[in-house]
């Protein structure tokens, strides 16, 4: 973990509602792992005391990119970052996804919205190829499908309104696939998206006696494990306890997560 000034190398729209911010960030980029995140300070938002967490989407040499959606005042202010501007970054933070998949097993990625960002970084760093299921509300929320294809991944899409891929939740194509493939493959799940999606993937993994690595999303204060703002009830070696999503996560195995509702 380091604190480093990043320089904006590019900042472009992806589709209509998402943006890619590419930063020259040599030290953080050097050790970044898929599933880890960075904590970004939006200095021009004068009255903000908190940084904003973003998954690492790409690492190319000294450059690190994030893929973000504008949802509030911080991300709205981020939109005005111009090439050459500098931003303070703390990272890489948290524990990422396990990169190795036992031979014979098939990596199955499940993502929603910006959740595909860490999965794309993962796909680029994995030896194996596998299948990706993307879900979203509308077509505009389906990102990176082609990029995954280019990497040789099989891609299945579902949207709530059916504007792209199958109509329905991402679990629709996922379940269909699981049925056809049962016995033929041993899936190993990697998921990032809304809690509902994570829970659904976890349930299937537990039922099928497979592993599922889920990346959780919590509001954060420090991002380094100090403030205890981001806790999640978990089961670690039989014991119920609270883990810090920023430090002990954000990636947890489905069996370790205790979902509250």
């Amino acid at each position: 973990m380091r604190i480093e000034k990043g320089t904006v190398a590019s900042h472009e729209l992806m589709g209509t509602e998402y943006r890619v911010l590419r930063l020259t960030l040599p030290e953080v980029a050097a050790t970044a792992q898929p599933g880890q995140f960075i904590h970004l300070r939006i200095a021009s938002l004068h009255d903000a005391v908190l940084r904003r967490p973003f998954s690492i989407y790409k690492v190319e040499g000294q450059e690190l990119s994030i893929l973000y959606k504008t949802i509030g005042r911080g991300t709205a202010t981020m939109q005005s970052l111009k090439v050459g501007d500098t931003v303070s970054i703390v990272g890489p933070l948290g524990n990422g996804f396990p990169l190795t998949v036992d031979s014979g097993a098939t990596p199955v990625l499940v993502g929603g919205g910006y959740g595909v960002a860490p999965l794309y970084f993962l796909a680029r760093r994995m030896a194996q190829r596998g299948i990706l299921f993307i879900g979203g509300a509308k077509a505009v929320d389906i990102l990176l499908a082609d990029d995954f294809n280019k990497l040789g991944w099989n891609v299945r899409i579902a949207t709530d309104d059916g504007s792209l891929g199958e109509k329905g939740l991402v679990t629709t194509p996922l379940d269909a696939w699981l049925i056809t493939e049962t016995g033929k493959v041993i899936p190993k799940f990697y998921a990032c998206g809304p809690n509902g999606m994570l829970k659904a993937v976890g349930d299937r993994a537990i039922k099928g006696n497979w592993k599922a690595w889920l990346s959780l999303d919590r509001h954060m204060g420090c991002g380094v494990g100090a403030c205890l703002a981001c806790v999640q009830k978990v089961r670690l070696n039989g014991q119920n306890t609270v883990a810090r999503v920023c430090k002990d996560g954000p990636v947890f195995e489905s069996r370790d997560v205790i979902w509250e509702d």
């Binding site: 005391v49 703390v90 509001h219 204060g221 100090a226 703002a229 806790v231």
Partner: protein, 319 residues
């Protein structure tokens, strides 16, 4: 008593660099800049980013006798120039903390101040007794802004009598310097500081965060699972300066000022108002290097104002 450690000497040796070192209630500090309880964990969390040996002191997250789980999430929400937190004092308890974190902290040449709390007078006393013998613990900061279970949950720190009893109970069980941390939501803060002094406090720290809340107008639910929490950050700084000024007027023991420090400027404001030391809280989240920048900034200020030693600045306000 706070005193400037051999100014002339260090003055000579480090080409006109003023000395920041102080002796605060028996605690020898390299400089008057601490990190505030709950905003810096137990030490390891920020150690990759901040050289702990450079800090005046580390005040660790509040510790209770037994492990405590804290509140449900969401536990924090950002507000203009501040943050409301309702962590709920989650901590591993006296034994858990001592076994898990003290070995790490002992490796550093930095004063360790343990922030303690309890749900009853007895608990405060027990926690104090425990740490009295723990090697590497230099002082105890006593968080009195906690619900007094036996008194229907109203805070110890908002009543003079319960404040006096907590301080006396802690005093009775430890030889370590004790530093009661005052609740800000009282009308006469000076009276609370005086009561602490009279009951054996070696120093006073203030302020803790302010009772506050935020509501999601779409769901009409409080944003924090705990309904309300404590406001911290730049928003409370001007209130903290006033309270520190009032306290420094009435007590002889040193004051540690906390509240909205983001740079040397706010820290120096506190010192001029009467603080002998300061602690950086929420700003650690905004920029983990804040405490180090504050140390540098105070040093630069002293040079610019031709002062030998930070102590010369304490309560130098001109009114």
């Amino acid at each position: 008593m706070v005193q400037c450690l051999n100014p002339v000497m260090s003055f000579g040796k480090t080409k006109m660099k003023p000395t920041l070192a102080i002796d605060l209630a028996g605690l020898k500090l390299k400089n008057p800049v601490m990190v505030a309880s709950g905003t810096f964990g137990y030490g390891p969390e920020y150690a990759d980013l901040v050289d702990l040996n450079k800090l005046g002191a580390i005040v660790v997250k509040g510790i209770s006798l037994e492990p405590w789980g804290g509140n449900r999430t969401p536990r924090i929400v950002e507000v203009p120039a501040g943050l409301i937190n309702a962590i709920g004092l989650q901590n591993p308890g006296t034994r858990g903390f001592t076994e898990k974190y003290m070995p790490f902290l002992r490796k550093f040449d930095v004063s360790v101040i343990v922030n303690i709390w309890g749900k009853t007078l007895e608990e405060y006393a027990e926690v104090a007794a425990w740490f009295d013998t723990v090697e590497g613990v230099h002082a105890l900061e006593v968080n009195i802004s906690c619900p007094n279970i036996k008194a229907g949950g109203s805070s110890f720190g908002t009543h003079l009598d319960s404040t006096a009893r907590v301080v006396a109970a802690v005093r009775a069980r430890t030889k370590l310097p004790i530093i009661p941390k005052l609740a800000p939501n009282v009308s006469d803060i000076g009276a609370f500081a005086k009561v602490c002094e009279n009951n054996g406090a070696d120093a006073i720290s203030l302020i803790n965060s302010f009772p506050a809340m935020a509501i999601d107008i779409e769901t009409r639910k409080p944003i924090l699972a705990n309904v309300s929490g404590g406001l911290s950050g730049p928003a409370i700084h001007p209130i903290a300066v006033k309270l520190v000024y009032e306290v420094a007027k009435v007590v002889q023991i040193p004051v540690i000022a906390i509240g909205g420090i983001t740079s040397a400027r706010e820290a120096i404001e506190f010192i001029i108002a009467g603080a002998s030391a300061v602690a950086v809280g929420t700003a650690n989240f905004t920029d983990p290097l804040t405490s180090l920048q504050v140390i540098e900034g105070i040093s630069d200020y002293l040079v610019r104002h031709k002062m030998k030693c930070v102590q010369d600045l304490v309560r130098s306000i001109k009114t």
